[in-house]
């Protein structure tokens, strides 16, 4: 499987169509390469502004990933469908998406500390086993938690 796929975000809508208008973001390919979960909600913590990015190695981005492993995944429980950071290239992070069957906990998303969140109803994302931890480092530039050696 390829290490990443693309989604396009225009500030309101999230599309898997690479020709859609908006910002192209790399996502863990497993999130979009399987049977999609209908009636889910995507919490997109990202901005359409192309300058909105942080390095994956910035402490705040590292800590958001730690928080995902420590309590965000357990808090979501069965509601979680999948999650992925958004990569722009080998070093920059443009935020993250958490997809859940119920949006009621999105106000606690650790990635909200990095970029504002937008809730988008979606039928496009697949159920993916969450990362087991503790690695927060990325595998050859893939959007965390995707990839592998």
């Amino acid at each position: 499987m390829r290490p990443f796929a693309f989604v396009v975000f225009d500030g309101k809508h999230l599309s898997l169509d690479p020709r859609a208008p908006g910002r192209r973001l790399r996502i863990d390919a497993r999130c979009v390469e399987g049977d999609p979960v209908r009636g889910a909600f995507a919490h997109v913590c990202a901005l359409p502004d192309k300058a909105a990015a942080l390095r994956y190695d910035e402490p705040e981005v590292q800590q958001a990933r730690r928080d995902v492993l420590a309590w965000w995944i357990p808090m979501l429980g069965d509601q979680l469908v999948c999650l992925s950071t958004f990569a722009l290239d080998a070093s920059r992070c443009a935020g993250a998406v958490t997809v859940a069957r119920d949006p009621s906990l999105f106000a606690d998303d650790p990635f909200l500390r990095l970029f504002a969140g937008t809730v988008v109803p979606t039928d496009s994302f697949c159920a993916v086993a969450p990362p087991p931890g503790p690695p927060i480092e990325r595998y050859a530039g893939a959007p965390w938690p995707g990839g592998g050696f």
Binding site: P74, D78, P132, P134, P135, E137
Partner: protein, 165 residues
């Protein structure tokens, strides 16, 4: 489960109740697996707090940790949160794997827990070293775990020696 032997690909629920395979949790990385009596044992509490210190190194070193106990997932989840752990706990509350692994602690007839043990594993779940932790000092120290992870990483990463300029 001796060095060089295959460790079973455990299929158990994790601390959130999701079904997991040990091979999936390894994900192609070296793995340290610990069997643990349970949340109630002071020795386990102390040892796992030590592992939580070590997780700060594992998180950047492409290595994994897994703890197996007979605690139910919801108990593991609370224990894990209290410890500040960011690695996976697997629940064998039905004691499905415990007899197959031969790790029943026979002296505790109240809990019928796992014997404390540790296994450092290659990404394909081969045993690198095995530790009997019935007595506390039989468990691997954090230094021994670092050593094992170094040895496994050296063996499985083709680019251990950085490419020459």
């Amino acid at each position: 489960m001796k060095p060089g032997g295959a460790f079973p690909d455990l299929d158990l629920p994790d601390h959130t109740g999701r079904s997991r395979l040990l091979s999936e949790l390894a994900g192609g990385d070296p793995l340290a697996l610990f069997t643990s009596r349970g949340w109630w044992c002071p020795k386990e509490q102390h040892y796992l707090r030590g592992l939580c210190r070590l997780q700060d190194e594992f998180e950047v070193a492409y290595a994994r940790m897994v703890v197996v106990s007979v605690d139910p997932p919801e108990v593991q989840s609370a224990f894990r949160a209290g410890l500040g752990a960011r690695f996976t706990f697997l629940s064998d509350s039905e004691r499905r794997w415990l007899p197959q692994l031969g790790l029943l602690e026979t002296t505790d007839t109240l809990h019928d827990p796992y014997l404390p043990a540790a296994f450092t594993l290659t990404p394909d779940l081969r045993v690198h070293r095995a530790y009997n932790g019935y007595w506390y000092f039989g468990r691997p120290t954090l230094e021994e775990l670092r050593r094992d992870m170094r040895e496994i990483t050296m063996a499985v990463r083709a680019d251990w020696e950085a490419p020459p300029a």
